[in-house]
């Protein structure tokens, strides 16, 4: 079991980490763009995105399941019950969270900076680049929050991964399985390990961010 726990831990970090990194590649520019634009349309979009933060993970899992299953439109890709399907699902889960966080940083705290850039005729692309560089730490802070959300979710991991031992089994699916088997002690142990791992990783990322 100790070997399997390490296997599960590494897979959990890989899947949730990949999902978070993937989500930030589009969420950070989009969050900055919405913050720069800050008009009625962008405020409506951000309101919808804020609602999507609370979307049940099983709903994302169900929708992607229907798309990725054999009879679904992307069934030919054979992604269902693979770590890649879990990465796709978790990146969708994390996206609204990161966008919303980045938007708050830009629209809430950078009005003068945006005006200064506008007065010097900066293009949208230049503004996104400068604002990203200026708030880089906080932008990656949003990725850390996304990672925590992905690491702790169950619905997507279960529906798209299927909890296959040695392939898609992650912390949350293992805990759920052990509870179903009545192995509460092991489930609690795994839960504590997940919590410690989460705290440890987040602390390392934050310390690296401060040092930089």
């Amino acid at each position: 079991m100790p070997y399997e726990i390490w296997d599960i831990a590494i897979r959990s970090i890989f899947i949730s980490g990949s999902a978070s990194i993937l989500a930030t590649t589009w969420s950070i520019p989009l969050g900055i763009y919405l913050g720069i634009t800050n008009n009625n349309l962008s405020r409506i979009v951000i309101s919808i995105i804020n609602i999507l933060i609370g979307i049940p993970t099983v709903l994302i899992g169900l929708i992607l399941y229907l798309i990725l299953s054999r009879t679904g439109p992307l069934g030919f890709l054979n992604l269902l019950y693979t770590p890649y399907a879990m990465i796709i699902g978790q990146s969708i889960l994390v996206t609204p969270l990161v966008i919303s966080f980045v938007y708050e940083v830009v629209a809430g705290k950078s009005i003068d900076l945006i005006e200064m850039l506008r007065t010097f005729n900066a293009s949208r692309g230049e503004m996104i680049k400068i604002l990203y560089e200026e708030y880089e730490d906080r932008m990656w802070g949003s990725a850390v929050i996304g990672f925590e959300r992905a690491l702790g979710e169950l619905g997507i991991a279960l529906m798209l991964g299927g909890n296959i031992r040695g392939v898609t089994r992650v912390f949350t699916t293992t805990i759920a399985l052990e509870v179903q088997k009545g192995m509460y002690e092991l489930a609690i142990e795994l839960g504590v390990i997940l919590l410690i791992l989460d705290l440890l990783l987040v602390s390392i990322i934050r310390i690296l961010g401060w040092r930089r």
Binding site: E115, L117, T119, N121, E126
Partner: protein, 204 residues
């Protein structure tokens, strides 16, 4: 030539700028008034940063809030009352405007010498005093040398030495351009071509 025609602006249902019509040609023009009188709002409206609820703003005959304004707005620079500084070196902050507007930085050397900024060029500007930040913020606009320079309370954080230097620079270098300064102080009064007072959202 900057021209405002019947410009009004509402802020959360309160009319802060009321039916303002004014023309400013080249020279130094002051907008004076106490805090909260609408000076910043007028400056931002002129600079193309804040569309008015009513009325028109023309610069050299071009409607600032029309689709054709991008070219003329390259010649309009607004400097905030609170200095806006990037978490970068003084040098990077100084050349930012010129870099974005794709202008050369020929004036940088003279400006750095004039204001005595040479020794701090490599220092992170966000760690400097409020006075230096204000000076960097102003110098960033001076390097670009826009035809229309809009300064909002430019002396707030400056000590006497820097304030006199800024006044000397504006008076010496900007005679042929249009400089609009919103201020509640009297430092520039004797150099100004026109002085307008803003009272309860109206220019008088």
């Amino acid at each position: 030539m900057i021209e405002l025609i019947n410009v009004s602006f509402k802020y959360t249902d309160k009319l802060v700028i009321k039916d303002v019509s004014v023309k400013w040609g080249s020279g130094l023009h002051l907008i004076k008034g106490p805090n909260g009188s609408g000076k910043t709002t007028i400056c931002k409206i002129i600079s193309g940063l804040l569309p008015p609820d009513r009325g028109y703003v023309y610069i050299d005959g071009v409607d600032v809030y029309s689709g054709e304004s991008s070219k003329i707005l390259k010649d309009v620079v607004y400097v905030h009352d609170k200095p806006v500084i990037l978490n970068r070196s003084v040098y990077d902050n100084l050349i930012l405007g010129a870099r974005l507007l794709k202008r050369n930085v020929n004036r940088l050397k003279n400006l750095v010498e004039f204001f005595g900024l040479y020794d701090i060029l490599d220092i992170n500007a966000s760690e400097l005093s409020a006075g230096y930040k204000q000076l960097i913020s102003l110098s960033r606009a001076f390097i670009v040398r826009p035809r229309y320079l809009i300064l909002d309370e430019p002396f707030t954080n400056l000590d006497t030495k820097f304030r006199d230097k800024v006044i000397e620079y504006i008076v010496k270098e900007y005679r042929e351009n249009t400089v609009i300064v919103a201020t509640h102080t009297t430092y520039l009064d004797r150099y100004a071509d026109t002085i307008r007072k803003i009272h309860k959202g109206k220019l008088v």
